[in-house]
């Protein structure tokens, strides 16, 4: 390794110079170090002391070049001595890197020669008066390029422990911490994607733990597979995986679905039952695909609602399908409590009503749907979320898609309505109406709720579209982003994605983003585990990170940070700051 190479590796010395490119296409840099020293996705800085700006970008491609193709085609080692061949290779064969120029920032004064001016400038940076901005110009020819240092990354992505910056992972090359701004993350809906086994669930746990620890946002998790609340065992390593409940026992409330629900053998904090009167025809229509409902269902449901209003579900459930009685003359007729009698009375197609009654049997028999719930668990959930607690709704034994779709949508609709009401009260200046606490709803298997057919009917797509208008955003977790309606995908602020094998999934994750072509290859070549690409509105620029491991060290660091922050605050309080 030459001195230059060593310097590039350890001190972020120059790794090349800018040789071309523009705003429409990527910048091109000729590397002065071997290609193996850098990787696609590396965060680089174009740092020219003669320029007014410092540029920040990502390496999106590496290409082998030669001053004359004949040098590349010739087997130099076979023709010349190893020494001469090496000298010739160093001069004639090289690597070009393509750099996606994403941000630029005003260059400050020289800290050595203009120390005082530099400190003034740095204060403005700290005060966020000078911030990186989208690249609107290009660096000069031969501007030196280097790998980003920890301070560059902190400047762009924030410093761990400061404000709401939370370390999500580290850069690939040098392991510098990369943070995400949790306050910004929850301002718009976000998505975590990745094929099965890419560590999606672990990454989600990391982010959720960060959000809970940060304490400014309430989190509601629809835990379809009972992964997030209770302690778990990793399917691949067999290691124990701490759950959020165990680490935040007072902050996280475990809610089980159904009166006698247990979660991995443990009793939840309380259970949730759905009141029949809470179910709307729209909740049923949402299940059209799952229940294989006919096109006539909407008409039948409409008639049910006009007949029984809020009790339509209860009344319909009570009706008997194809029930008959003998009349006074001994003739078999439809029973008064039969579906047929009601249908004929309301002018509804009898077979359509009978069919709907039969298909709703799965809901009629769901043990968590009751006429009169023992407690108002829904209100308790809302109160918990409002009080800064977080709720993990475990589906326990009700892991079927039907249960998940039905319950998650119904609850989300109710909670969103509540938040909308509170937001309107707050905005209208109603006395005593506090600002609603931001709420993040984490949804697994999001494509089941947000696919093209269902997106328009669920509350989730409404939330995704509204952004943070009513203080509610989504954190969607999915392995098939291509199945999610593209209008919803395009609304996602922050996207964190692990490896995806399917080209449609890759294209879906990049929907609505600039520089898609450059990012596509990067996404396809992520390591199958632990490497993730962060991109979108919520991060200053796309970046590939080695995601933080969800292990004991993570918890030690996270809880230590919190403890030390508390300690500092206590000191400031004592000093009357």
């Amino acid at each position: 390794m030459t001195e230059q190479q060593r310097s590039a590796k350890t001190n972020s010395g120059p790794l090349g110079i800018i040789t071309g490119g523009g705003l429409k296409e990527n910048l091109k840099a000729r590397l002065t170090i071997p290609a193996s020293e850098v990787q696609e996705g590396a965060f680089v800085v174009v740092d020219d002391k003669l320029d007014k700006w410092t540029f920040y970008g990502l390496i999106t491609d590496l290409q082998l070049w030669a001053t004359d193709p004949r040098y590349a085609n010739e087997d130099l080692g076979g023709r010349l001595s190893p020494r001469l061949a090496k000298l010739l290779r160093e001069q004639t064969l090289y690597t070009n890197a393509e750099i996606m120029n994403t941000l630029m920032m005003e260059r400050g004064p020289d800290p050595v020669t203009e120390t005082e001016a530099y400190f003034d400038w740095y204060q403005e940076v700290l005060d966020e008066k000078i911030r990186p901005q989208p690249a609107k110009t290009v660096p000069q020819h031969h501007a030196p390029v280097r790998l980003a240092r920890a301070e560059d990354i902190a400047l762009i992505f924030g410093e761990e422990g400061k404000k709401s910056f939370f370390r999500i992972g580290d850069t690939l090359e040098q392991g510098h911490p990369v943070c995400v701004n949790l306050d910004k993350l929850v301002q718009r809906s976000a998505g975590i994607f990745g094929a099965t086994g890419t560590g999606k669930s672990f990454l989600t746990r990391v982010i959720l733990a960060g959000l809970i620890n940060h304490g400014k946002t309430a989190v509601l998790i629809f835990d379809m597979h009972n992964e997030y609340g209770p302690d778990d065992t990793a399917s691949d390593t067999g290691m124990r995986v701490p759950g959020l409940k165990g680490k935040f026992p007072t902050k996280v409330r475990m809610v089980g679905l159904g009166r006698n629900a247990t979660i991995r053998g443990e009793r939840p904090d309380y259970t949730l039952e759905v009141a029949e009167s809470d179910i709307t025809p729209e909740d049923v229509l949402l299940l059209s695909q799952e229940l294989n409902l006919r096109e006539t269902t909407a008409t039948t449901l409409d008639a049910l609602r006009s007949s029984f209003h809020g009790d339509w579900f209860h009344e319909f459930k009570k009706m008997r399908s194809k029930a008959t009685i003998k009349d006074e003359e001994g003739k078999t007729i439809a029973a008064p409590d039969s579906v047929q009698v009601w249908a004929e009375k309301k002018g509804v197609n009898v077979s359509a009503a009978e069919s709907l009654h039969s298909k709703l049997g799965r809901l009629f028999n769901a043990p968590y749907i009751v006429e009169q719930p023992a407690a108002n668990a829904l209100q308790q959930m809302i109160d918990n979320l409002d009080n800064g607690q977080h709720v993990v709704l475990s589906f326990g034994d009700h892991e079927k898609d039907l249960d998940y779709l039905f319950v998650s949508n119904l609850l989300t609709r109710r909670i969103r309505e509540e938040w909308e009401k509170r937001t309107n009260a707050y905005r209208s200046g109603k006395q005593g109406a506090p600002e609603p606490r931001p709420l993040v709803i984490a949804v697994e298997e999001a494509h089941k709720l947000l696919n093209r057919e269902m997106a328009s009917q669920t509350s989730f797509s409404t939330i995704a579209r509204e952004m943070r208008k009513y203080y509610v955003t989504l954190l969607i977790i999915d392995q098939r982003p291509s199945q999610i309606y593209d209008e919803v995908m395009s609304q996602l602020g922050t996207r964190v994605t692990g490896w995806l094998g399917d080209s449609d999934d890759i294209a879906a994750v990049l929907t609505g983003l600039a520089g898609r072509d450059a990012l596509r290859g990067m996404l396809a070549r992520l390591q199958p585990k632990e490497e993730v690409l962060m991109l979108g509105w919520g991060v200053p620029m796309p970046i590939v990170v080695r995601s933080r491991r969800y292990d004991d060290a993570f918890w030690d660091e996270l809880l230590k940070f919190k403890a030390s922050a508390r300690k500092n605050n206590a000191v400031f309080d004592e000093l009357d700051f």
Binding site: T67, D68, R70, Y71, E74, R79, L80, S81, R83, L84, L87, L88, E90, Q91, T92
Partner: protein, 208 residues
């Protein structure tokens, strides 16, 4: 410092080089690829590289060749007292003015009958170490000359001198510069490197 060996006097010159003459019995000292210098005055001397050694015929030589018998006296007389000099072509590489080496072409060429000296190892080492090997471009300028062999001979000679002076890195730096200057001319560069390689391997074989 080694003795200064005078090897001839200037016949004709131009900015990019000159030709000097010597007697046939002086031919043992200069050789293809040797570095020479011309002392113009106490402050100014020109450095060059021998690229051509030419022995012209004359009427007497033609007659002797066509005679039936060549007597020994006539052969010795022709070699020792011949009035036609050996002509040695030199490429100008640079100059030294007040002990400052410049690898640019000399401001004015040497004058007729100026004395030509073979460079000593110290002088070779001093001239070739100064600057950034810019003088190599003078060698490559004229493609009518045997550039590859000339460069190879020069690198071989100078490498020996530099290594004796303890500058083992000189050779790699010279080859790097050569590659930089010639990389746009693939055929010539590969020929030059091929010859250098051949010289290296023959030297290694000899050392081995």
């Amino acid at each position: 410092m080694a003795d200064h060996i005078e090897i001839g006097r200037l016949l004709r010159s131009e900015t990019v080089g000159f030709v000097f003459g010597c007697k046939l019995d002086q031919i043992d000292s200069p050789s293809f690829g040797s570095m020479v210098r011309v002392k113009m005055d106490d402050h100014y001397q020109i450095f060059g590289l021998i690229y051509d050694i030419r022995i012209q015929d004359d009427g007497l030589v033609k007659q002797l060749i066509t005679s039936d018998t060549l007597v020994n006296e006539a052969w010795l007389d022709t070699r020792g007292n011949r009035t036609v000099p050996v002509e040695i072509g030199v490429l100008a590489l640079g100059y030294m003015l007040d002990d400052q080496v410049s690898q640019l072409l000399p401001p004015r060429p040497p004058l007729s009958l100026d004395e030509i000296f073979l460079c000593t190892p110290e002088e070779i080492a001093a001239f070739t170490s100064a600057g950034r090997m810019g003088y190599l471009r003078h060698i490559m300028r004229d493609q009518n000359k045997p550039v590859a062999e000339l460069l190879a001979a020069h690198l071989k000679n100078t490498r020996e001198v530099q290594e004796a002076e303890g500058h083992s890195e000189w050779f790699d730096a010279a080859v790097e510069e050569l590659i930089t200057l010639m990389k746009d001319d693939y055929p010539t560069l590969m020929t030059v490197l091929g010859v250098v390689d051949e010289l290296e391997s023959s030297q290694d074989g000899r050392l081995g």
